[in-house]
Symmetry: C2
Subunit: 278 residues, 2 copies
Amino acid sequence: MRFIEKLENAIKKNHSLLCIGLDPDIDKIPKHLHKDSDPVFEFCKQIIDETAHLVCAYKPQIAFFSSLGVEGFSALSKTVRYIKTNYEDIPVILDAKRGDIGTTSEKYVEEAFTVLNADAVTVNPYMGRDSLEPFLEKRDKGIIVLVRTTNPGASDFQDVLTVDGQPFYLYVARKVKDWHRLYNNCVMVVGSTWPDELQKIRQLDPHIFFLVPGVGAQGGNLKKTLEFGLRTDKSGVVISVSRSILFAGDKDDFAKKAGEEALKYKEEINKIRATLFE
Amino acid sequence: MRFIEKLENAIKKNHSLLCIGLDPDIDKIPKHLHKDSDPVFEFCKQIIDETAHLVCAYKPQIAFFSSLGVEGFSALSKTVRYIKTNYEDIPVILDAKRGDIGTTSEKYVEEAFTVLNADAVTVNPYMGRDSLEPFLEKRDKGIIVLVRTTNPGASDFQDVLTVDGQPFYLYVARKVKDWHRLYNNCVMVVGSTWPDELQKIRQLDPHIFFLVPGVGAQGGNLKKTLEFGLRTDKSGVVISVSRSILFAGDKDDFAKKAGEEALKYKEEINKIRATLFE
């Protein structure tokens, strides 16, 4: 099944636009797990078991695993396998922000889709279309392109005005729109910390899916994000939340706390969705 | 020792501006190595032993390792350790093109410098300065920022004209120049396939080091690269060559052939250097 179809099915099945970002920072995971032989996997597993009925996707961030070396890479592999085996309806987005010359990007494609078996991967557009083509050609996978990122410094380059008076991020968004028309597998990363920019991108492309991080620890505005980001079918936005769910508790009941926090996000999103386009 | 100092020392000691890009594509490494318990490491080790006196740096590309999963990650770790143990004067550049929000970039810093113990890492500027700050703050390491990449599609975004009539890559180059003034650890990636752009960037910044891929398999022009790229001290350019050295032979004597090819590049570069600024 194509990634976007799988995502749409998960949104309907769980009635949720919430994606949980799996950022299992070893310095933040509960102390009692450090006795486990694979604390990072155990942390992710327990979070997943408490939240799989509440989400439309999981988004493991590769750096939180690879920063632990071979063991971390192995924990990531086990985490994706665990989701695929136990919750096969939930797509897995590898957050890796890859992109390189073609022959190297082919290897990143293998990393994401062969080795790690993800359903989608985030990519960085700076090197241009040919650097992303090995990804785009995987038509059943999701290729999620950075357009307007959440961080304060996003404006350094993404807001630079081009000669036609438009900011650079809109130039990138137009290209991604074109690629999606050709490959039918693109998603745009648009941070919830920039609602005005999000609105402009939605005006440019009324149909494409947005992956929207930044709600939660980074302070993005949920209401504006949905008001400006949703398509008229009240879908098309995946809200990715990481730290404020993962680290809602730090004791034995951390996963239960994470589940409660995830439920709050899911319901808050649905409450706002219900009031829009009426 | 700071990366740039280590690099300058290696350039002097080996009288070489050549960097070998370690892209140990499993589909291309000689068949007889596949019997080895760790063919990727064995391939790199033999290449390194034949070339360490000819180069100023090695540049392993992480995707060629991580695309093989845990074993590949382990082979990369062993390769860096092998260089550090046996050829401690030669700096190791991790080619990874990382960049993310600050908390995640901190983890990529750990991947590059704690887990893999590289001396420098390549990074992607699209997300802006704060995304690179965790890297920049490692003042003894080299932070090598993509400015103008070698691939044909580089022009898609890097050539977009900004409102002041300058192409985007020069806007990025100006920022990297500023960061280097503050952190004194930046290098710019400028492809040899774009000599005119390389010349403009050198005019903008007469002092900074360039890492220049694209000579060899990608067809970059060595003479123009040196003519336009070198500083007036005939240094400041690191020429990175991968495939045409690594895969010069495919039999038992592949490493010897790689050494011969590396020697040719080193000498050709020095021959051109000798004729310039006279």
